[in-house]
């Protein structure tokens, strides 16, 4: 039997595997949702200027909590809108796997946030938020379009830097992450991945 036949069989298997991988990707990550969350991030950064974290930690936390409380549902609504447009269900298949991969990092972030607040370690919060949100995005992004895990990795880098800089720089990095990265990747995804 010719090896060409075997090569064709291997090629067919590669095609099946690639098609399964592409068909299993969650493509309803909303670029316009990310832009809105980015705008919210910038507004939060303006409302909580760099020196606030040291001067009034309570207000700093409240502002970013509010941003998270608004950003989560906003992002979810935009994803739901994009999924509905594509006829994609958010309850099964790739969407479900995406959510399951995305959620643990956020849950860990919430737990550590309460632990650090209880221990009055406020300066650890920005790095924790950026790193664990990045971990969530990277994990979920592995099941989505390529820019998503890249954005997640950049969040982790910003978060790592955050642990080694003074508090006022941490606020700037929060703005760069939750504002800047969301805006940049939001525009990219909107333009190249259908909204």
């Amino acid at each position: 039997m010719s090896t060409a036949l075997g090569d064709r069989a291997a090629d067919n298997l590669r095609f099946i595997r690639d098609t399964m991988a592409r068909a299993g990707a969650f493509t309803s990550v909303s670029g316009s949702g990310m832009i809105l969350v980015g705008v919210l991030g910038i507004l939060a950064a303006v409302a909580a200027p760099p020196l606030l974290i040291a001067a009034n930690p309570g207000e700093f936390i409240a502002i970013w909590f509010l941003a998270a409380l608004l950003g989560g549902p906003l992002s979810w609504l935009m994803i739901r809108r994009k999924a509905a447009r594509a006829g994609q269900s958010l309850l099964d298949g790739s969407a479900r796997r995406f959510m399951l991969a995305f959620a643990p990092g956020l849950a860990a972030g919430a737990v550590l946030t309460f632990a650090f607040i209880a221990a009055r370690q406020i300066s650890l919060l920005p790095g924790t938020w950026l790193t664990l949100y990045g971990a969530s995005v990277t994990a979920g992004g592995a099941l989505s379009v390529k820019p998503v895990p890249v954005m997640g990795a950049l969040f982790i880098v910003l978060g790592a830097v955050c642990f080694f800089v003074p508090p006022f720089v941490q606020s700037i990095l929060l703005a760069a992450g939750f504002g800047g990265l969301h805006l940049a990747f939001g525009f990219h995804i909107t333009r190249h991945y259908g909204g």
Partner: protein, 130 residues
């Protein structure tokens, strides 16, 4: 159950594509190994449709068209052939005023894909083992 089958199919595709020459395991003659191919799903577009549906509960006509980067006519013709063979089921409905066609892999379709994967693995092992 369906999920286990689809991940099993994905694992087999992965394993087969990386198959190394571990010796000739196919006991049948070369011709019989090559000859018993399921021609219904051997065609590329049809193989793509079946593979995509193996990892999704259901997909719409437009999703399949985008995924396989092909034309309306191609998806329509090939999906019909798979439907005629009993490998797909098709549901037509309306999303508001827009007609919506959804496809789902049947148990026979899933078995056919698994048979096809076994067949490809056997071919690779038989040819590389020589």
């Amino acid at each position: 159950m369906a999920k286990q089958s689809s991940s099993a199919a994905a694992r087999r595709a992965e394993r087969g594509a990386r198959a190394t020459p571990v010796g000739l395991r196919a006991h049948k003659g070369d011709e019989s190994v090559a000859g018993a191919l399921d021609k219904i799903i051997h065609e590329r577009i049809r193989l793509g449709i079946v593979s995509a549906l193996a990892v999704n509960e259901r997909l719409t006509f437009n999703e399949l068209k985008q995924l396989l980067n092909t034309s309306d006519g191609n998806v329509s013709v090939h999906a019909r052939k798979l439907e005629d063979a009993g490998y797909l089921s098709c549901t037509k409905s309306f999303d508001g005023r827009v007609p919506k066609t959804e496809y789902k892999l049947t148990a026979a379709g899933r078995k056919a894909l698994e048979r096809y994967l076994s067949h490809m693995e056997a071919l690779i092992i038989a040819t590389r083992g020589k």
